[in-house]
């Protein structure tokens, strides 16, 4: 059974991979979605009895490169996070970079799921559905379990493809299409600051490994002024 994690390299990815590496086994907890009052000791205790992969199971981290300016830094962040959190169990073949030019379902007719056909915009329309379809096409239906890396959004505006309801709907359609045994986002019911605090307790250098900036400078440094950078530094200070 494959366990495919869609990773963007940001703080949600960092928190989710930390969670998976510490308390999640790939056997029976697919639908566990802890809330803010989760009992860490219970999960850790549970993990003692279920640690490790099942024989024959495969872990894959997929990064989708759809032309975003910071794709190189995001991909590096995914790789660095996975190496630190999963250690020697992660090999280069376990972290795969999908280019949208190779997965045309993401971009039929030159830009249906993107901003505007033919434009240079790298903003994904229908982003999380597009990412899931990219994973499905890349894996040719051999996904097993598909994981998104999301935390609860306090200021979420509906409709949203980062809501628990969306993930549930995606789960049911993927199951009916035989594209996956499940689709889930394990930390979607946990606030971002709680998730990050938990993850940083396990991995103190978490914020040095993740990447959030969408508009890096020519030297590959975070701009420090975009809203993603501001949020990144805010959480670094709080967590």
């Amino acid at each position: 059974m494959n366990h495919v994690i869609l990773c963007g390299g940001g703080l949600d990815t960092a928190a989710t991979l930390a969670w998976l590496s510490k308390v999640w086994t790939f056997e029976a907890t697919v639908h566990d979605t802890p809330t803010n009052d989760f009992d860490e000791s219970r999960y850790l205790q549970w993990n003692i009895h279920h640690n490790g992969f099942l024989p024959g199971d495969q872990l894959l981290l997929l990064f989708v490169d759809y032309g975003q300016v910071s794709s190189a830094m995001e991909y590096d962040a995914v790789w660095n996070l996975s190496r630190v959190m999963f250690g020697s169990t992660i090999m280069p073949t376990h972290v795969q970079r999908i280019h949208t030019r190779d997965v045309k379902i993401l971009n039929p007719d030159g830009g249906m799921l993107f901003g505007t056909a033919g434009s240079t915009s790298s903003k994904l329309r229908a982003r999380n559905l597009a990412l899931a379809m990219a994973a499905a096409a890349h894996m040719k239906g051999d996904i097993g379990h598909l994981y998104f890396c999301m935390t609860a959004e306090l200021d979420i505006e509906m409709p949203s493809d980062t809501s628990p309801h969306f993930i549930q709907s995606l789960n049911s359609t993927f199951i009916m299409s035989e594209l996956a045994a499940s689709v889930t986002s394990p930390l979607i019911n946990m606030d971002k600051d709680v998730a990050l605090r938990m993850a940083r307790a396990w991995y103190p250098d978490l914020f040095d490994l993740a990447w959030s900036c969408w508009t890096p400078n020519a030297q590959g440094k975070a701009c420090g002024v975009c809203r993603h950078c501001v949020r990144f530094e805010k959480f670094r200070g709080e967590c």
């Binding site: 997965v103 045309k104 379902i105 039929p108 007719d109 030159g110 249906m112 799921l113 329309r125 229908a126 999380n128 559905l129 379809m133 499905a136 096409a137 040719k140 239906g141 051999d142 509906m158 409709p159 949203s160 493809d161 809501s163 309801h165 969306f166 709907s169 995606l170 049911s172 359609t173 993927f174 199951i175 009916m176 299409s177 035989e178 594209l179």
Partner: protein
């Protein structure tokens, strides 16, 4: 807005006619090009049908991955139905603000197949998924789901079915239907059960 994923088959033609009967004169046929080897001949036949039906000028051609790239070791393409629907929904979403219909030509034969992604519940959930995630109300309709293929053919018997395409291996055999594949077999049976003379040129007459 009504979008009809158009394969060139008999049900596709009937869907365009159906769209006209419900007042959607601007139905948009969506023709997927997945770069299969048989595409050139199939596409010629599809275009001929669309011209005859009067829909060619509003047809949208959409590139999709080569089927060979998506096939798994079993020779199937998991989730192909969902990929087609998502592509069509994405197209509709990019053109309208709120309401759109995607019409599919599933018949009772589809309901008798085991796949969950051919059942009405799947399309309802897919519509829900889009509404929850992206807001627009794009519904997927299967107006022929309560009928068998030959009943649809009988109802829409005046359409230019001699220009419709059912053969699974059209290019390999030229422009004629092969007469031996599953598509040809079902096509021939539908004409026979509908009591309509089959205008199709078969290279090999399908077995009854």
């Amino acid at each position: 807005m009504v979008v009809v994923p158009y394969s060139g088959g008999m049900e596709s033609m009937a869907l365009l006619a159906y769209a006209q009967t419900i007042g959607s004169m601007d139905a948009i046929p969506l023709v997927f090009n997945d770069n299969e080897t048989e595409t050139p001949n199939r596409r010629s036949a599809v275009i001929a049908g669309l011209i005859e039906m009067g829909f060619y000028n509003q047809t949208v051609f959409m590139d999709l991955p080569n089927n060979d790239l998506l096939q798994n070791a079993k020779g199937t393409i998991p989730g192909y139905k969902m990929m087609m629907c998502v592509a069509a929904m994405s197209y509709a979403h990019s053109r309208v603000e709120n309401n759109a219909w995607i019409l599919l030509g599933h018949t009772l034969e589809n309901s008798e197949q085991p796949w969950e992604d051919q059942k009405p519940e799947f399309f309802t959930r897919l519509s829900d998924l889009w509404r929850v995630g992206y807001g627009s109300n794009i519904r997927i309709g299967n107006p022929f789901y309560g009928k068998y293929k030959h009943e649809v053919l009988s109802e829409y018997r005046t359409l230019p079915h001699h220009l419709s395409v059912s053969c699974d291996s059209l290019t390999l055999m030229g422009t004629d239907h092969c007469g031996t594949c599953e598509g040809c077999t079902h096509r021939s049976a539908a004409f026979r059960l509908a009591g309509i003379d089959d205008p199709t040129e078969y290279r090999h007459r399908p077995l009854p």
